[in-house]
C-alpha cells in the first residue's frame, strides 16, 4: 500500500491502512465462517445448514452478529471484571498485529518489515496471554483448566512452527516475507522455471509440520482440548457471552485466515505468479495490475489452505491431552530439527 499511495498525505495513508487491515482480517473471517463452518460442515453431515436468512442463508452471518451484539454483557460475580473484559481484546489485537506483515502485492503491503516472519511468529504468541487470563479471570474451574490446556498446547506447538519456518528462511536467505515471495516466483526447479519454485516442493516436510502446528495453534479439532465441550463445557470461553464471545469467535476464524495467508506466502508463492510468464526479472518490473490481482491470488490460496484445515477439523476425533503433548515434543520437533539440518547442509552444498 505504501508504494501505491505515495502521493496521499500521511494521515490519509494511516487511515487507509487501518481500513485495509479491517478488510484483510474481517473479510476472510466472514467468508471462512459462511463457506466452511456453515455450509461445508453441513454438507459433510448430510444437512443443508442455514437456509432462511438471504439466498442459501448467505445473510446468516449478519443475523448472528446482530444477535450477539444485542445480548447482555455478563460478567460473573466472583470474576476479576477488568481482566475478564480485557482478555478477548488481547486475542483480537494479536490477530490485527499479525496481518500487518502479510504482503498482498508488489506495492500492496502494510509494512515491509525486514524481519517479517520473525515478527509474525512473535506476535502470534501474544494471543496465548489473552487466552490464559480469560481462563483465570472467569473464576470457574472449567475455564481455568481450559486456559491452562490452551497455554500448554500453544507453547508446545509454537516450537515446531518456528522450526518449520526456519527451513524456508534458510532457503530464501531472508526473513522478509516480500522477498520470500519474490524468491519463490523467480526461482526455478532443476532449470525449469514454468512454475517458479514454490517451497512446498523443496520444503514439503516443513510445510506439513507448519500446517499441523497451525491446526494446533488455532485449537481446531483434533487439537481442540482447550474447549473440549464434553469435558470442559467450553473451556476458557465458558463464561463469555454477547459481544465478548463474538470477539473470541471472530478472533478464531480471522487468525485461521491470517495464518493461512502466512503459510501461502511461505510455501505457495504468496501473491505472485511465476515471473517468467510475463518476462519480469525483479520486483521492480512487475506490472501495476498485480497490485489488484495479487490480493485475489492470495485469497484463493488462503481459502485452499483453510479448506484443508477445516476438512481435517470436521473429520478427525479429538486427541487426548498426553497424546497431544507427546506428538509435539517427541514427533514434530525432532523432525523439524532434522529438516533444518538437511536444509542447511543442502544449502551449503549447492
Amino acid at each position: 500500500m505504501i508504494g501505491l499511495l505515495a502521493e496521499v498525505p500521511y494521515w490519509g495513508q494511516s487511515l487507509l491502512r487501518v481500513l485495509g487491515g479491517l478488510v484483510a482480517v474481517l473479510l476472510p473471517a466472514g467468508t471462512i465462517v459462511y463457506i466452511f463452518l456453515f455450509k461445508m460442515m453441513s454438507f459433510m453431515q448430510s444437512r443443508l445448514g442455514p437456509m432462511e436468512a438471504g439466498p442459501y442463508g448467505s445473510m446468516q452471518l449478519f443475523a448472528e452478529v446482530g444477535k450477539w451484539l444485542q445480548k447482555e454483557d455478563i460478567v460473573p460475580d466472583r470474576a476479576d471484571a477488568r481482566i475478564f473484559k480485557m482478555a478477548p481484546i488481547i486475542v483480537l489485537v494479536s490477530t490485527f498485529l499479525l496481518v500487518v506483515v502479510v504482503p498482498f502485492g508488489p506495492d500492496a503491503f502494510f509494512t515491509n518489515f525486514e524481519t517479517g516472519v520473525f515478527y509474525a511468529l512473535a506476535v502470534s504468541s501474544v494471543s496465548v496471554l489473552g487466552i490464559l487470563i480469560a481462563g483465570w479471570s472467569s473464576a470457574n474451574k472449567y475455564s481455568l483448566l481450559g486456559g491452562l490446556r490452551a497455554a500448554g498446547q500453544l507453547i508446545a506447538y509454537e516450537l515446531p512452527m518456528v522450526l518449520a519456518v526456519m527451513g524456508v528462511v534458510i532457503q530464501a536467505g531472508t526473513m522478509n516475507l516480500q522477498k520470500i515471495v519474490v524468491a519463490q516466483n523467480s526461482g526455478s526447479m532443476f532449470g525449469i522455471d514454468v512454475v517458479g519454485h514454490p517451497y512446498v516442493v523443496s520444503q514439503f516436510v516443513g510445510f506439513i509440520i507448519f500446517m499441523i502446528a497451525i491446526q494446533a495453534e488455532l485449537t481446531q479439532a483434533p487439537f481442540d482440548m482447550p474447549i473440549a465441550e464434553s469435558e470442559l463445557v467450553s473451556g476458557y470461553m465458558t463464561e463469555y457471552s454477547g459481544f465478548r464471545f463474538l470477539i473470541f469467535f471472530i478472533g478464531e476464524f480471522a487468525t485461521a485466515g491470517v495464518f493461512a495467508m502466512i503459510a501461502s506466502v511461505l510455501f505457495l508463492g504468496g501473491w505472485g505468479v511465476p515471473f517468467t510468464w510475463f518476462g519480469w526479472t525483479s520486483i521492480d518490473d512487475i506490472a501495476n495490475w498485480m497490485n489488484f490481482v495479487g490480493p485475489l491470488i492470495m485469497f484463493t490460496k488462503m481459502m485452499l489452505l483453510v479448506f484443508i484445515i477445516m476438512w481435517i477439523r470436521f473429520s478427525y476425533p479429538r486427541l487426548r491431552e498426553d497424546q497431544l503433548q507427546r506428538f509435539a515434543w517427541k514427533g514434530l520437533i525432532p523432525v523439524a530439527l532434522a529438516n533444518i539440518m538437511v536444509t542447511s547442509i543442502l544449502k551449503v552444498v549447492f
Binding site: 466472583r78 470474576a79 476479576d80 481482566i83 518489515f113 525486514e114 524481519t115 520473525f118 515478527y119 511468529l121 512473535a122 506476535v123 504468541s125 501474544v126 496465548v128 496471554l129 490464559l132 487470563i133 481462563g135 483465570w136 479471570s137 473464576a139 481455568l144 486456559g147 491452562l148 497455554a151 500448554g152 507453547i155 509454537e158 526473513m175
Partner: protein, 164 residues
C-alpha cells in the same frame, strides 16, 4: 527528533508506572500483567532505537514465552481472584535499599560510559544479517557458552523434577 523524544518519554513514564504497580499490586496475576506492560514498553523503546530484531526477540521470548510460563506456573499453584494481604514478606525493608543501590549503580555505569554520546538523528538500521554475522563470528564462543549454561539448566530442571 522531537517525535522520538515524545515517544520515548511517553513510553518511559508508562513503564515506570507499570513497574511500580508490579510491586505494589495485591494480586499475583495482576503483578505479572503489569510486568508484561513493562516488557512491552522495553520492546517499544528498542523499536525507537531502530533495533528491530532485538525488539521482536523481546516480544517473542519475554512476553510470548517467559510471561506465559510465569502465569502458567502461578495459575497452577496459587492465583486467587481478588487481593491477597500476605504477598509482602519481611524482606521488604531489605529490598528497597538494594533496589536503590542497583539503580544508582546503573546510572553511574551508563552515564560514565555513554554520558557524552548522542544518538545520531537518523540512527543506522542494523540489519539482522549483520547481527547474526556478529553473533556467529566475533561472539561465537560466548554464544556457545551461554547455550551450554541454558542446556545445563534444562538438564538440571529435569533431574530435579523427575522422581524415578
Amino acid at each position: 527528533m522531537i517525535a522520538q523524544n515524545i515517544g520515548f518519554w511517553t513510553i518511559a513514564i508508562v513503564m515506570i508506572v507499570a513497574a511500580l504497580r508490579v510491586v505494589t499490586t495485591n494480586n499475583v496475576v495482576h503483578a505479572a500483567l503489569w510486568l508484561v506492560v513493562v516488557l512491552a514498553g522495553a520492546a517499544a523503546q528498542y523499536i525507537l532505537l531502530a533495533a528491530e530484531f532485538v525488539a521482536i526477540t523481546q516480544v517473542l521470548v519475554y512476553i510470548g514465552a517467559v510471561m506465559v510460563l510465569f502465569l502458567f506456573g502461578t495459575m497452577l499453584t496459587r492465583a486467587r481472584i481478588g487481593s491477597e494481604s500476605d504477598l509482602n514478606n519481611t524482606y521488604k525493608k531489605l529490598g528497597v535499599p538494594v533496589a536503590g543501590l542497583m539503580f544508582a549503580a546503573m546510572v553511574v555505569a551508563l552515564s560514565s560510559s555513554f554520558g557524552k554520546e548522542k544518538i545520531p538523528d537518523s540512527p543506522k538500521v542494523i540489519s539482522t544479517q549483520e547481527v547474526s554475522d556478529q553473533i556467529f563470528g566475533q561472539y561465537l564462543l560466548p554464544f556457545w557458552a551461554l547455550s551450554f549454561v541454558l542446556l545445563a539448566a534444562v538438564v538440571g530442571a529435569i533431574v530435579l523434577a523427575r522422581k524415578d
